[in-house]
Amino acid sequence: GSTLSYPKLTPQQVSSILRNNENTFELKRGKSVRSFDTNQLASNDPIEDRRSEARLTQTDGLMFGVFDGHAGCACAQAVSERLFEYIAVSLLPPHLLDEFNHALKDRLPSVNTWLLNWYRHDNDYFNTSMASLYRSNLHRYVTEMLSTSCMEDDHEFVMWDALTSAFVRLDQDISTEAMPGANGLVINPEMIDIAFSGTVACVAHIDGPHLHIANSGDSMAVLGSYDEDQNRWHATELSKEHNAQNLTEVKRIKDNHPSSESNFVIKNDRLLGQLAPLRAFGDVRYKWQHADLKKLTMAMNTPYAQNFIPPNYYTPPYLTVSPEIKYHRLRSQDKFLILATDGLWDMLSPDMVIRLVGQHMTGKQTYDPYVPNKGVKLKDINSVLLKRKSGIENRAIDKNSATHLIRNALGTSEFGVQHNKLSLMLSIPQDIVRLYRDDITVTVIFFDQDFLRTCPA
């Protein structure tokens, strides 16, 4: 295309595009999370990223997830709707699991909010046509869990196992729902879309000071901490990207297959030369047996059936959804957690992201007017005000820190954020935009310092 010598978009247009999907939730005081910001910017049309946030009604924890879909958005959409339910039931103690089982059985109207309270953006949607199928498969999971827990008297809850089993079970259900024969060879095209597309997932579960990250694929969770002594922001990666740059991951895959395949199993930095993330939901083309894939190809008459089976497909499954899980106990220096899809990490380093949000946060604190406490001395008021000064200087034009990150990711040049560059990045024609930027999803979760400072062990 021609180079633009003038900005095509006005500053107002840029801001309205950047802010179209932004959302901020302030949570009730007295918990470890004070608030969170989310935002998404599409590159694909429609966007293939999804995100979810919810409060667990029965256990009081919070869950946040980002889901970067590929080969369409169907799988990401399904996982964004279903994964938290699978995790939530995995966390339920037997008596609550039983209670939920009854609620499901009796189709109580309250069943929708019995497990989860969602935080929603106006642009979010549920796939209502699948709801009853999703519900019945969840129900089956619940009853199976009930029977297992009944058999094991000394059942002890392990978070690792719960998260892993939720991931794996949902992926199995997605797979089974698409299998020909499961419904008497009636092929449901929506199910096929879901199972043959894929999504990575990065999920945070936070309850009090306990933070778990379950990650499968190449999204990433990074913790932002502030070191008071050194007056510095510090970035801690709480997940590893599962892609070809991750040598441990490459080794894991190669070890799972005969050495004869080691030249093909990861090729051109991709699984079987095709798939970039090395763990994912869906993508049954890398999971099913050769015969099952063949069977489906015959039953279907789709244009893409030709290249259905990847080359060198000898010892499936090649792909797993099993997440890597990391635990972190939150400390008072931990200020926020960022979950983002690789669209962001392609453009900004974790250190840069943490610095940007750190500055934004000190600026944001000053949006609330200062009100001195009763009886405080004027000199003490002055020292608080002096501290706020640096925050005021850092005030960004976007109140939402996720928007602030996306603006910086797109607009940063050697002269700082430039309108010209933002305009250019946001007006690239749809047919080539994916060459310049990926879908971006960012969730920034802010912790409550007062809670973390005083919470019991």
Binding site: T366, P369, Y370, L378, K379, N382, L386, R388, K389
Partner: protein, 861 residues
């Protein structure tokens, strides 16, 4: 605090002589003074309750020493009035605790010394204090970082709402009606005169209307046809009040100008407020309805810059507790001066607003002068610096105001008064001439005059003080910060001065006001003969210098008139006169509409081609014969310069030097400028600025309008009788001038050369310095500059003869000035001898090619 008059009348009369809109301290004072002067039928309308706008939350300080003598005189009168009212049983909360002012820098202290010298002749008792003496006056004040201070015993603190209620009650007792809950909806006019006011309670007919609606004044100005310009904008304004901590009731009011803060005792604690360097404008999109006794949410972060200084100056506040941080709106004007006088848009529409947070202190004097203005047609003293007619449309632009008041709030207090050539930094480069890009590229230092950027001088190199150093925000960048002495541009101006006197220079004079007056027949000639004191019925092509006098013979304007055709004139007067000159002319225009006036200021670019080589340079560029024989001075011809035609070239320079002012249709201006610059290369042409012009004219004893010439000075008092034709038929002011011609004068403009002054080490005079004759005060300096030929500092000023007993002015003669008179000037407390001239000195003319003139004065150092 609930403040209200207890027995307000609530029915609106159908008619009044004068309707005052605004029941704050200003409206109350105007009602009081009109009633005091014996006027009846005064109706004051207040949309809420008395004092509910901004008066109720004012700090109530009455400090008489202000940044100019106009304001000082006004506050001085207020102080005396509030004391008197208190004595007469109208309580004002008068507490004569005195005021204590500290200086952190030598420059600040020097500015106090200048102020003390001026205050002395205004009968205000002021004492200079050492840091130790400051401690003795108040142990609260930290003194280890100050160089000194001032003690003003008669200063006071009052209760702001009480002051307003006292004047309102006194006005009511004298028959004025006060109606609360009455909002003005429309101001009615008939033939451009006030005819009445529409309110929520009905319509009232009236002859006079006074807009003293405070921060509402600008929007009230829009409620008439035509609209009235009242350029002001609200800002947040803060003070805090501490809980009591044993502060003595008679603690003086303390001011720390370098720390932008002031303090007064408040119920055993301290009230501390201030004027931060960067203010926070508010109500840009209108003031909320029912903002009665309203206050703004406090922004501690914004207040911090003041809190820091408060805790610094009075350390005992550090451990005090806060009772309240108060944030109330105050309105400020583009130049931080009041807006007073008759609106140029509508006859008998008066404005008194824009009190820039000194409303309580000013109200008494403002009310008195407004009453004079309404009753007598003009105030008793020169109020030009605060006159509403100093503004043009630009000033009323809301965004301009919003940007400018950020700066004016702080400047009102922090800025060192009497600092020569202070200039604002915000809202600049709004009004520029076509050659601005050239003069800017040439490195000019500009000053804003009525919005215009005017080049003052052209440094050869970028000098260090012309920076955007944020630490010098409130200080002029025209001169190095804080200097009262020899300016850093001294040598630069010298070179421009000599280039004007010996070579040829270009000075962009486009900011001058330009009007065209014409009629079908001779009406315009008759009209101008009536409003001008000189004979203007001269041949087409003549330029006439003339004054326009008022009925007392004083100057309303001083103009150059070019007769362009039999029945049309081109009028040039000073930049600051753009609004006022038209107001004066329109007031006297024939009622039949036979004479038309058009403002053509923006149509012409004026370039002053000044210097003895101008004639030869221009001869190269035009076909017109420019020689003295063919083109004598005070004449105008239409010439071409380069490829541009239709240029009005007048042989005059407003400086006494030879040369032309070219009035160029603006689309040709850049071509003409470039042509002159290119052709002038071999003539040593260069740009020059207003400072060079100023030095030239002061040395040659040229009086300028606004400095020497004012409504209160006559041509006879300025040795300008030669420009008055008492033998022509009646003109405005003729009778007064004839009378003065017969009786003699009581003051005379004199040029003084300052002797015994060390240019490098002594502070320089600027304006307002007192002049003494044989030890007695006789007048003040109106303008000053350096005479590069005479090699002396030169001051112009009026000499009066005050009777030592009666303090009344007596008649003076030339002998009073020239015989047995020893003159001295007081510059910041030190006196220097003066040499007086009543005629312009003869300066050696510069050599012009074929004329030999011997030089009598060495000029180069």
């Amino acid at each position: 605090r609930e403040v209200s008059s207890n027995d307000a009348v609530n029915s609106l009369p159908s008619q009044a002589r004068v309707v005052i809109c605004g029941g704050g301290v200003i409206g109350s004072s105007i009602a009081y003074h009109l009633a005091e002067r014996g006027w009846k039928d005064i109706v004051l309308l207040e949309q809420g309750k008395l004092t509910c706008g901004t008066t109720w939350h004012a700090a109530g300080l009455v400090g008489r020493l202000k940044s100019s003598s106009v304001e000082t005189n006004i506050v001085k009168y207020s102080a005396a009035l509030y004391k008197k009212l208190e004595d007469e049983g109208y309580p004002t909360g008068w507490k004569e605790c005195g005021s204590l002012t500290v200086a952190r820098t030598k420059d600040r202290m020097l500015s106090y010394r200048k102020a003390i010298a001026k205050a002395k002749v205004m009968d205000i008792e002021i004492h200079e204090l050492s840091p130790n003496e400051v401690s003795e006056k108040s142990s609260l004040v930290r003194t280890d970082d100050i160089v000194g201070g001032m003690w003003i015993p008669g200063d006071a603190a009052t209760s702001a709402p009480d002051v307003a209620i006292a004047m309102a009650t006194a006005a009511k007792d004298k028959g004025a009606k006060i109606i609360e809950g009455c909002a003005v909806e429309k101001v009615l006019t008939k033939n451009n005169n006030i005819s009445g006011v529409e309110t929520n309670l009905g319509t009232i007919q009236c002859e006079y209307f006074v807009n003293c609606a405070g921060q509402w004044a600008r929007s009230l100005g829009k409620k008439s046809n035509p609209r009235v310009r009242v350029p002001l904008h609200s800002t947040e304004h803060y003070y805090l009040v501490t809980k009591p901590f044993g502060v003595d009731r008679m603690t003086p009011v303390i001011r720390d100008h370098d720390g932008y803060t002031y303090f007064r005792e408040w119920s055993g604690g301290i009230m501390a407020g201030g004027f931060e360097p960067v203010a926070k404008p508010v109500f840009h999109n209108g003031i909320p309805d029912k903002f009665e006794f309203g206050q703004l949410p406090e922004d501690w972060d914004h207040f911090q810059v003041l809190l820091e200084q408060i805790l610094h100056r009075i350390p005992s506040i550090q451990t005090a507790e806060i009772r309240q941080l108060f944030n109330g709106p105050e309105s400020f004007t583009p130049d931080c001066k009041y807006i007073l006088g008759e609106a140029p848009e509508i006859n008998n529409y008066f404005v008194a607003a824009g009190m820039t947070s000194i409303g309580i202190a000013s109200a008494g004097g403002v009310g008195r002068h407004m009453a004079e203005w309404i009753i007598d047609g003009s105030p008793s003293v020169d109020l030009w610096s605060v006159d509403i007619r100093r503004f043009v449309d630009l000033h009323n632009n809301k965004k301009y105001l919003r940007d400018r008041v950020r700066e004016t709030l702080g400047a009102s207090f922090y800025r060192i008064p009497n600092l020569p050539f202070y200039d604002f930094k915000t809202a600049r480069n709004v009004r520029v001439t076509p050659v601005f890009p050239r003069t800017q590229a040439a490195g000019a230092v500009f000053q804003e005059v009525v919005g215009f950027e005017r080049a003052l001088y052209f440094p050869r190199f970028h000098t260090h003080w012309i920076t955007d150093d944020p630490d010098q925000d409130a200080i002029s960048h025209i001169n190095p910060p804080g200097t009262f002495g020899k300016p850093a541009y001294f040598d630069i101006v010298r070179s421009e001065y000599w280039a004007c006197r010996e070579g040829v220079c270009l000075i962009d004079m486009s900011s001058f006001t330009k009007l065209e007056l014409k009629s079908a027949g001779r009406e315009v000639v008759d009209f101008l003969q009536y409003v001008c004191s000189n004979d203007i019925d001269k041949p087409v092509g003549s330029v006439i210098h003339t004054g326009m006098q008022n009925t007392q013979g004083g100057y309303e304007n001083d103009v150059s008139l070019l007769r362009t055709h039999e029945n049309s004139y081109f009028l040039i007067c000073s930049t600051s006169q753009q609004t006022r000159s038209q107001h004066w002319l329109r007031k006297h225009l024939p009622a039949d509409g036979s004479v038309q006036i058009g403002d053509v200021t923006s149509m012409y670019t004026a370039i002053n081609v000044i210097g003895p080589k101008a004639e030869e340079l221009l001869s190269n560029l035009t076909d017109t014969n420019m020689s003295k024989q063919d083109f004598s001075s005070m004449n105008c011809k239409i010439i071409s310069v380069g490829h541009a035609s239709g240029i009005r070239a007048m042989r005059l320079t407003h400086s006494g030097e030879d040369g032309w002012i070219l009035y160029i249709p603006s689309e040709y201006a850049l071509h003409v400028y470039d042509t002159l610059m290119a052709a002038g290369k071999d003539y040593g042409i260069r740009n020059a600025g207003y400072f060079a012009l100023r030095c030239l004219r002061i040395e040659k004893f040229f009086a300028y309008w606004g400095q020497e010439l004012s409504p209160y000075t006559t041509p006879l008092e300025c040795s300008r009788e030669f420009r008055v034709r008492l033998d022509k038929p009646d003109f405005i002011g003729k009778a007064a001038l004839e009378q003065q011609h017969k009786d003699g004068i009581t003051k005379k403009l004199v040029q003084f050369l300052v002797e015994g002054h060390n240019l490098d080490n002594d502070p320089w005079p600027f304006q307002g310095e007192p002049i003494y004759r044989n030890g007695h005060y006789c007048g003040t300096v109106t303008s000053s500059g350096y005479g590069y030929t005479l090699e002396k500092l030169i001051c112009l000023g009026f000499v009066h003869s005050y009777n030592q007993e009666t303090k009344k002015e007596e008649l003076i003669t030339n002998d009073f000035i020239m015989r047995d008179a020893k003159f001295e000037i007081d510059i910041a407390g030190k006196r220097y001898p003066l040499k007086a001239n009543i005629y312009p000195p003869t300066l050696p003319a510069a050599t012009t090619g074929n004329v030999y003139v011997p030089r009598t004065s060495s000029r180069m150092k």
